[in-house]
């Protein structure tokens, strides 16, 4: 029988804040790579069931996307996905490599470059989160993913029946490129992450 997890207002606040710290570092890394200012939305937190996931993801990013999926484990296990609307990821890659690559080679490069961007951003985010609450983590190789947001669900293990979803959208100001970062954990990891987060917070209270 599956069970759910209940987070108090303070615990939700604390988790959003830790994610916010991670995002700040990720945004800085992205900003340096593309030489543009990155604006972040305020992070949103929800606990959803696997059944709700497809609809929820589609609500965040309607339409097709390209992105990077990476798994993290250590003090907690998480899946993180960096997503760009279908046509924007190529534009992002073009920003990074400029005129150095011929157009005919660009599509081949897109996946590789996007995967590396994802690797840097997702690791920046999770590093900062892990450093803040303590502990170490390891990451899987980043995986290029594309299609529709609901398509990423099969990537998650079947036992992941409840998902803590932290998501933000970010914008590269000058180029009007918008992306999304989803950070997902299943029940056991939510408890571990919550415990570590509250331990960090409570040391000062």
């Amino acid at each position: 029988m599956s069970h759910t997890v209940h987070l108090t207002e303070d615990e939700q606040d604390a988790l959003r804040e830790i994610f916010n710290v991670g995002l700040g570092y990720a945004a800085d890394s992205l900003s340096l790579m593309v030489n543009d200012e990155v604006t972040l939305s305020v992070p949103a937190l929800s606990i959803i069931t696997r059944e709700q996931a497809t609809t929820t993801f589609q609500g965040i990013l309607p339409g097709s996307f390209s992105g990077v999926l990476q798994r993290f484990e250590g003090g907690f296990e998480a899946n993180a996905v960096l997503m760009f609307p279908g046509d924007k990821s190529l534009e992002l890659v073009r920003l990074m490599v400029g005129d150095q690559v011929a157009l005919e080679d660009m599509n081949d490069l897109e996946q590789e470059a996007l995967t590396e961007v994802g690797n840097i951003l997702l690791n920046s985010c999770v590093s900062a989160m892990s450093d803040t609450v303590g502990g170490t983590f390891s990451s899987s190789l980043p995986e290029y993913v594309s299609g529709y947001p609901g398509d990423i669900l099969p990537e998650f293990p079947p036992e992941m029946d409840h998902i803590l979803l932290l998501n933000i959208d970010f914008t590269l100001e000058r180029r009007d490129i918008k992306g999304f970062l989803l950070f997902m954990m299943q029940l056991e990891s939510i408890e571990q992450f919550k415990t570590a987060t509250m331990k960090y917070m409570n040391q000062f209270l």
């Binding site: 207002e9 804040e17 916010n20 945004a27 200012e37 305020v42």
Partner: protein, 125 residues
Amino acid sequence: MSDAAKKNVLVVDDSRMSRMMIRAIILDRRPGWNVIEAGNGDEALQKVAEQAVDYATLDINMPGMDGFEVAERLHAGYPNIRVCLLSANIQESSRLRAEAVGAGFVKKPITEASIGLALEFLERA
């Protein structure tokens, strides 16, 4: 503590947990100071209109008015308030915007060290 040493410090952050942590560290290091809290930019501006504030710490990424706009408005309307931005938004552009309004900039996460740096900036003459 002499009256001259007592300060009113406004802590602005949409995260209640963050405000609690900042308050606790400030009061641990500066017992006797008065910590005022605001959860967003509008509330912050209301507080400074209602009472004397010496220092302010500002988060950047908040719903509504962001910390830059609050810093800019404080700089314009209350130039005697020393301001330090305390944020996870650590891009160079953020630092430059802070500098432009004479505000300090310290990066999160909130720790004894980061609040110590913020206090160091705020108390600098």
